[in-house]
């Protein structure tokens, strides 16, 4: 009985949350339910499932038992009420916005975001009539100033890709609360091991599972976590949640599903109709990755700090942007939001500029030159000659991808080998 009220620790949840033995076979590892569809128990049961009157499985675009374990796992790690797995991190963002925004609406986003998200917000969302208003996380007041009556949410990254920027989640959460809009936090680079945005006022957390959560560079995936904290019925701002839905014969999702209504809205209105479902096989691989998240993440951070310290002493290097380094602009925020480590993705500048960047990525032998982060392997990219090549020099600098900038994602190899590879490539 004394045990009944214990709240398990992070490592225990990383392994067990959502994953009870399979009810039909007793399989202990989560089975890969590689099936499109599920038979109904009977006609009445089928009708109940379609009407959302029963919990269960219909069709893998809407839900799948392997994906459901992943959903519960990440929701538990983030301290949320429910999760929804989708095909990619970008799909997670679209599904969240689809549940919140109507044509002509606005949202405020930090301008320090993953470049792909900046593209999605600036260009793709135009077709839906969703208008992004950019704010600067280095000047919190710009968020407050950007709020208008049309604002439906605020979107930030906890630790921002690529430059090792730590966002003041709590301060921006307070602005969101005052404005009566939810705060959406992309927690991809931090993972809940380093930072739990819900503790600081996030109402929704999104992930690219592709990165550290999956952690092995083998599967694309995304996830939405509902914090259960936002009152969707306070005003008429969020019709997907607070008004009768014609899709479900007049059901009101918030009154029916309470503090996990947002996750349900994303599933039954977004995922069901837009369709970016996660494959159960990917869910399985990502779940296996999450089982070791706390071990991996700590090692990623310890290695990253060692590499950042080493780089900052090198004559070839002009600057290192790693929030874990004392004296870094974001060191205080990192100490508050990610005390166990400031993540494993950061940038640095080469004194030799563009040519030195090209040379470095060509010379490395252990680092892989590719456009991803959050792998067991150490990864390197020179944005100016790859992901940001099409931008003007001025735009490159603005995006934190100037000609001298190199981004690293530090892996789980021996740190001596990681450093030796950089040393060899820098001096070659």
């Amino acid at each position: 009985m004394a045990d009944a009220d214990r709240i398990p620790g992070f490592a225990t949840l990383s392994i067990h949350a959502g994953a009870k033995p399979d009810p039909t076979t007793g399989a202990r590892a989560t089975p890969i339910y590689q099936t499109t569809s599920f038979v109904f128990d009977d006609v009445e049961h089928a009708a109940s499932l379609f009407g959302l009157q029963a919990f269960g499985n219909i069709y893998t675009r809407i839900g799948n038992p392997t994906c459901a374990v992943l959903e519960e796992r990440v929701a538990a790690l983030e301290g949320g009420t429910a999760g929804l797995a989708v095909a990619s991190g970008h799909a997670a963002q679209v599904i969240v916005m689809h549940a919140l925004m109507m044509p002509g609406d606005e949202f405020v986003a930090s301008k320090k975001l993953y470049g792909g998200s900046i593209n999605q917000f600036n260009h793709s969302y135009k077709n839906f009539g969703w208008n992004v208003v950019w704010a600067d996380p280095d000047d919190i007041s710009t968020f407050e100033k950007a709020i208008t009556p049309k604002t439906k949410c605020i979107f930030i990254e906890s630790i921002a890709n690529p430059g090792g920027i730590v966002t003041d989640i709590e301060a921006i959460g307070n602005i969101a609360r005052k404005a009566g809009v939810p705060l959406i936090v992309d927690n991809t680079l931090a993972t809940p091991y380093l930072c739990k945005p819900i503790d600081y006022g996030a109402d929704v957390v999104v992930h690219s599972l592709t990165k550290f959560l999956g952690g092995h560079g083998n599967s694309i995936g995304g996830l939405i976590v509902d914090a259960g904290s936002f009152n969707w019925s306070r005003d008429k701002k969020y019709p997907m949640l607070c008004e009768p839905r014609p899709e479900y014969s007049g059901m009101v999702l918030h009154e029916t599903f309470g503090n996990f209504a947002f996750a349900i809205a994303c599933r039954v209105l977004g995922l069901r109709d837009l369709g970016p479902a996660l494959s159960p096989f990917n869910a399985f691989l990502i779940l296996t990755g999450i089982e070791t998240l706390p071990l991996r993440m700590q090692r990623h951070c310890d290695n990253a700090l060692a590499v950042a310290e080493w780089l900052s002493k090198r004559p070839e290097i002009a600057w290192v942007s790693y929030p874990g380094l004392p004296g870094n602009k974001y060191n205080t925020l990192a100490a508050k939001y990610a005390p166990k480590g400031a993540g494993a993705v950061f940038t640095f500048g080469l004194k030799g500029g563009y040519d030195a960047g090209v040379k470095l990525v060509s010379n490395v032998k252990l680092f892989s030159h590719l456009a991803n982060i959050g792998d067991t392997r150490s990864l390197i990219i020179h944005p100016a000659s790859t992901t940001h090549k099409q931008l003007s020099d001025a735009q490159k600098v603005q995006a934190g991808a100037g000609p001298d900038v190199v981004r690293l994602s530090i892996g789980l190899e021996d740190k001596e080998d990681i450093i030796a590879d950089l040393e060899e490539a820098l001096t070659a």
Partner: protein, 181 residues
């Protein structure tokens, strides 16, 4: 009882004990939360008696609707309140006059009336506020995990099926699940 956060063992104990539930504020409309809960609890083997003065005498899913609690001829274990918080007190007062007295007053999601709760608890009843028995049943039986909800339970024992199908789960024996809060 701390009504801000209930131990799972408390909720499980209630759902494992009560058999007959009177649902006050029941709506026969199929898209209303009370109808959802009504249908779900019936399917899980509870006897659920709908109460709604405007619908009294009609039948829904084979269950007769009564105008008020005291009209119900059979003993009731739990009163489930689907009314606004301000309407709860007289419902509890009426429940207290029943013979035998119900063991549980359950107020639905968003419904909370601390005065009514105190009155019921002083009379020896258990009280749950701002929760849905359908959601709690689904959570503790693990069924709700199929829609990605954080059940806040861990277990190395497999969940038990309810009845013949494969998609309905039961609450199972009490020690099966390690409750987290």
């Amino acid at each position: 009882m701390n009504h801000d956060s209930y131990p799972d063992s408390y909720i499980r104990g209630i759902l494992n004990t009560v058999k007959t539930v009177a649902m006050v504020g029941f709506s026969p409309k199929e898209n209303r939360p009370s109808y959802f809960a009504f249908k779900y609890l019936l399917e899980r083997g509870y006897r659920v008696i709908p109460v709604n003065p405007g619908q009294a005498g009609k039948e829904v899913l084979g269950q007769k609707i009564y105008a008020k609690l005291s009209d119900i001829p059979d003993p009731i274990d739990m009163v489930d309140v689907f009314r606004g918080s301000e309407h709860v007190l007289p419902i509890v007062q009426e429940a207290l006059t029943l013979q035998p007295k119900p063991q549980v007053i359950w107020m639905q999601l968003t419904v909370r009336n601390d005065e009514a709760a105190r009155l019921a608890e002083e009379a020896g009843m258990k009280v749950v506020m701002n929760r849905c028995p359908k959601i709690e049943y689904g959570r503790l039986s693990t069924e709700i995990s199929w829609i990605g909800v954080n059940s806040r339970t861990l277990s190395s024992k497999r969940a038990q099926m309810y009845g013949k199908g494969v998609q309905r789960m039961s609450l199972g024996p009490k020690e099966e699940t390690k409750d987290k809060n």
